[in-house]
């Protein structure tokens, strides 16, 4: 059944490996076999259930994607990159990346190579009826190396196996170390493991040392390479001739069995679910419910690695760590409705956990879906919307929509007006006399249906205005206008982009002065819409841009976000203060942001904070260009 | 030679001024018409905003005034102005020749009976702020038996032209908030309502107790002056007000209503004012030389004023006022009084 056998060039004349135990079975494999069977059944049933739960169209989409070359390549890339090598973690925390890839990739290689060995030397044993389930795992127990018939090929495999075992062991050692001193690996916060997590974790820790023990004890018979043989010699030195190896194999099997049995209830389920999630994600299927259907794969794909803990702006207070995405997902798994809601409501929706997640779990979207299960059915009455959006706008190609929050910070409106005038931009002001909300806050609160009414009303107003460009100064508005409004034929831009274009095209003259500016990436603009370049390009023309200690998609929410439903003022103030500290890393004179909410929050934070720097100015992006 | 100084009124203002003047070396004679020193402070249980026991504060005042010649149960019978000094005949038969007189006659609590529509003295379950303090002090009052709903009516006899007092009594809002908290502490299950017109919580930490009353004790503040109280068949009270924020008339059944009686000029103070022919303003309190620059000097040379005799004051204000009066008296007795030749001119210039 394995063509690999024929591909290998070097072949031994005599059997290199002899099936030591003719039955190919020993009692110690029972724990492992039970464990793995349980786990495989679990995941099998889970997959079927999940695929049954998703809508027919989504299912079709999924099957199709598996055969589309484009998605196949993407799937392979993501599976290797994310699941085995953990590229995303490497990029952020190399040591942590090494640890993850050592365990995942190393173990993966051990399994693959183990099976190749079996295929090469005792191919019959791959058959499930002849122990195919456990034989490749405990290969070294069942075989006897025919002394004197060792080939290069055999030694090569011995070497590879030992090498990867060492590789995994190094990962495990780091993992153990991380448990106690996580900061060394670049993690300030780690998740609190559940009971199943602990069982699986300690089993996992034990599996590879025990494997080394077991294989080194049997290395006399089954052979080995530098590691197993080396250790074997050491044992002989220590214990003399006779090595009593059965208990080691029992222990090894028990640990494996425990691990697989605990797996469905632990974070380690992610190892397998991740694969499914990547496939589903790449097929473009969106979750409709925070727990059911696709979301199930997504929440089980979470490895509980805890990277989101460090990402979460709420981590400035220990008491709020429990609201991080990792715990949200954990409670989703446990169906603890009360806790799920409390956690879902707390989040600022800054999207940083999503941006940083090694598996790409979109926790904010799940939270939104969770909020919708509670809030979407709440009554609303927007019968006044038609009258609110009745006004006829003057016909201009450029339409400016300030939004609610900008109206609370009229300095932005003034600055935008001055910039537009300076650049000779004729524009109409959509909500000069106060319009209605963009719908994003409703969306964030899970009132999806209500949001659609607001969107409809605004859309009508904008489409009827006859504009070709819609400029927004609020990233919250921008995000929803871009994602949900579907304004065909109208270019929707954020004013940072628009002003940057004005500068680039020479319409707006900017004088560079000696001012150290730090730019804060508003969540909805940066991570939300991917706008990082334009504001920096423009600001670079006006002053000296200095770095914040966290920038781009690492930038930290100002604390003012409308995303959170329950975070109170004091907690927000703490977040603002830490966010401010990040911006002040290189001692800028001015903080520039491009969001009315951030502007208001930072302005207040600067005056209220206990930080020594009080003379730093907080400016809106547009204000920089109308000095 | 030690100057004699007569201080009329043994409340916080009189005690504080006595202590200060005695420390400066003057011969202080303090008279108090009641049998005990301490004024209203002696009747109070705890003080806003930080719930300090009133006894503790009074104890401190009494200790620092130790050694002052003090006559209780004593009032002024007659006062004669001599050349510069005052010849004061007391009701205990003693006559004092005093170089300066400090009137610290304090205030009376508004007689809540006069606010007829609130039914104090008519409806069983109506009491005043002073009654409630007495309850807190003694732990017994027949009106208080595990009340379920308790109301506090602010501005009783204050800001009320019908009660003859247009002005604000300054301390009632904070007292009401303090008492609302205390009664909630005593009866955690009770619902407490405060009926106010404006919450005048102007001092340091005052807003904090307001917030605390709302946040931790769930006290409901209703903006509307209590309009009418009546008694139900079961002896509970029906009270009416407008919730002016909602713009709707409102009623609620209460088990207990506490009236925040305001400050009125003290009647015995007025008698002394009459003896001295001191000027009284429209509000009934003594006029001062200048409300801003000379708040402790009366228009009559040698007569000084301190505490609530010149208008509603909080306790810290009263104490500060008493200290200021002591300074003023000292200034008068050292700069003006000794110069027999130029006395009249100095008074004209510096009084």
């Amino acid at each position: 059944m394995t063509p690999l056998f024929h591909l290998l060039a070097v072949q031994a004349a005599d059997p290199e490996v002899i099936d030591r135990i003719p039955s190919g079975y020993s009692h110690f494999v029972i724990p492992f076999t039970i464990g793995i069977t349980f786990m495989l059944c679990w995941i099998g049933v889970g997959c079927i259930r999940l695929l049954a739960a998703i809508p027919q169209s989504d299912r079709l989409k999924f099957w199709k994607s598996l055969f589309l070359p484009k998605t196949i390549i993407k799937n392979l890339k993501d599976l290797f990159g994310d699941c085995l090598l953990h590229v995303k973690i490497w990029q952020r925390k190399p040591l942590l990346g090494y640890m993850h890839s050592a365990i995942a990739f190393g173990w993966f290689m051990l399994i693959v190579l183990g099976h190749i060995e079996v295929a090469l030397f005792v191919p019959a044993r791959l058959n499930v009826t002849r122990g195919g389930l456990f034989y490749p795992i405990f290969y070294r127990y069942f075989v006897w190396m025919n002394p004197g018939h060792t080939t290069l090929r055999g030694s090569f495999f011995f070497f590879l196996m030992d090498f990867f075992l060492l590789y995994v062991l190094s990962g495990i050692a780091l993992a153990m170390f991380k448990r106690f001193r996580s900061i060394v690996l670049g993690m300030r916060h780690t998740t609190k493991p559940s009971l199943a997590d602990r069982v699986a974790l300690y089993s996992l820790w034990m599996i590879f040392p025990l494997r080394l023990l077991a294989e080194s004890f049997t290395a006399d018979l089954s052979g080995g390479s530098f590691l197993t043989v080396g250790v074997n010699h050491f044992w002989h030195l220590l214990f003399g001739d006779k090595l009593w190896f059965t208990p080691c194999w029992w222990a090894y099997s028990i640990c494996l069995g425990l691990f697989f049995a605990a797996m469905p209830f632990s974070r380690y389920m992610h190892i397998l679910t991740e694969v499914l999630w990547i496939l589903l994600r790449n097929a473009g299927i969106q979750p409709h419910h925070p727990r059911k259907g696709v979301a199930e794969a997504e929440i089980y794909a979470c490895s509980s690695c805890g990277l989101c803990l460090d990402a979460c702006p709420m981590n400035v207070q220990k008491k709020n760590l429990k609201y991080s995405s990792v715990y949200f997902i954990r409670f989703l798994r446990r169906h603890n409705e009360k806790k799920i809601n409390a956690i879902a409501d707390k989040c600022l929706m800054c999207d940083k956990c999503h941006a940083l997640c090694p598996v790409g779990v979109d926790a904010p979207a799940l939270r939104r879906a969770q909020r919708a299960t509670v809030n979407n059915s709440l009554p609303y009455d927007y019968s006044y919307l038609p009258s609110a959006c009745a006004g006829q706008l003057s016909e201009q190609k450029v339409l400016y929509f300030a939004g609610c929050m900008t109206h609370l910070t009229p300095r932005i409106i003034k600055a935008v007006d001055r910039v537009f005038k300076a650049a000779g931009v004729e524009y109409a002001f959509a909500d000069r006399d106060g319009g209605i909300c963009c719908g994003r806050p409703l969306m964030l609160a899970g009132k999806t249906e209500a949001a659609s009414k607001v969107i409809e009303a605004n859309k009508k107003l904008i489409v009827e205005s006859g504009c070709d460009t819609l400029v927004l100064s609020c990233p919250i508005c921008y995000k929803i206008f871009k994602d949900e409004y579907h304004l065909e034929g109208i270019k929707v831009v954020h004013y940072t982009q628009f002003i940057n274009d004005l500068i680039a095209s020479g319409k707006l003259k900017v004088e560079k002065i000696d001012e150290k500016i730090v730019y804060h990436d508003p969540c909805e603009l940066g991570r939300g819409c991917g706008v990082y370049y334009e504001p920096r390009a423009a600001l670079g023309q006006a002053g000296t841009l200095v770095k914040a200690s966290k920038e781009y998609d690492e930038s930290v929410c100002c604390g003012g976000s409308l995303g959170s439903l329950t975070l109170d003022t004091r907690d927000r103030a703490r977040i603002s203060e830490s966010s401010l500290e990040i911006l002040l890393a290189e001692d800028p004179e001015t903080i520039v942001t491009a969001c009315p909410l951030c502007l208001k929050t930072f302005s207040e934070a600067v005056s209220n904070s206990r930080l020594p720097r009080k003379n730093v100015a907080v400016k809106d992006f547009a204000e920089v260009f109308c000095r | 030679m030690k100057n004699n100084i007569l201080i009329i009124g043994g409340g916080p203002a009189g005690l504080e001024a006595s202590a200060q003047l005695q420390r400066m070396g003057y011969n202080v004679i303090l008279i108090e018409k009641a049998p005990k020193l301490g004024g209203h402070l002696a009747k109070w249980d705890r003080l806003f905003p930080d719930s300090v026991p009133a006894d503790e504060v009074l104890g401190g005042l009494l200790r620092s005034a130790e050694g002052v010649k003090c006559f209780t149960d004593t009032d002024v019978r007659a006062i004669n102005r001599l050349d510069k000094s005052y010849n004061v005949r007391l009701t205990n038969g003693i006559t004092v020749l005093s170089d300066a007189v400090l009137v610290a006659s304090g205030f009376d609590l508004f007689d809540a009976v006069k606010k007829e529509e609130y039914g104090y003295g008519i409806y069983d379950q109506v009491m005043t702020n002073a009654d409630l303090e007495a309850y807190f002090k003694t732990g017994s009052d027949k009106r208080i038996e595990n009340p379920g709903r308790i109301g506090f009516a602010h501005c009783v006899g204050s800001r009320d032209e019908k009660s003859g007092c247009r002005s604000c009594s300054k301390v009632c809002c904070a007292t009401a908030v303090k008492q609302a908290i205390e009664i909630k502490q005593a009866f955690p299950k009770a619902e407490v309502y405060c009926f106010y017109m404006d919450l005048r919580l102007f001092g340091r930490h005052y807003e904090d107790i307001y917030l605390k009353a709302q946040k931790e004790y769930g006290v409901r503040f209703i903006r509307g002056r209590l309009a009418e109280v009546s008694e139900n068949y079961d002896g509970t009270l029906q009270v009416k007000a407008e919730d002016t924020v909602a713009g709707k008339p409102l009623k609620v059944t209460l088990d207990l209503l506490v009236l925040m009686s305001g400050m009125r000029p003290s009647a015995s103070g007025k008698a002394i004012g009459d003896l001295l022919e001191m000027t009284v303003e429209e509000d009934g309190y003594f006029a001062v030389r200048s409300g801003i620059a000379a708040g402790q000097r009366s228009p009559i040379p040698g007569i000084f004023l301190a505490g609530a005799a010149t208008g509603p004051k909080t306790l810290p204000e009263t104490l500060a006022d008493a200290r200021a009066a002591a300074m003023e008296i000292d200034r008068y007795l050292t700069e003006i009084f000794p110069d027999a030749k130029n006395y009249k001119q100095l008074v004209r210039e510096r009084w």
């Binding site: 509670v374 809030n375 609370l408 106060g434 909300c437 806050p441 109170d568 | 619902e191 924020v245 709707k248």
Partner: protein, 109 residues
Amino acid sequence: MVDFGFGLVPSSRINLDLFDKDKYEELAAVEPDVRICMACGSCTAVCTAGKFSTTSLREAIEDIKNAQPAKAVEMLQACQLCGKCSMVCPRGINTRHLILSITKTYSTK
């Protein structure tokens, strides 16, 4: 029954005796900020929905405390959760959550 061409009319008086304390405590448990409103009206002044309807959070809180929760729920239905009120509230009340919580707690649906 005789029809006189007129009849008893309902009282507009707020009756605090009808105040449902348990329900209110339920609300206060999920959003304690409801207690600390001082009825300054800042929320109403900036309200996006209030510009086009009679919505007022200040009034809604008042209605809840005045034993008229149905009025509060109805009024808050116009809210768009834009959050301006939370920005201007001098007591830092989490207005959006309060609005959602009032609706959740008192909605008869």
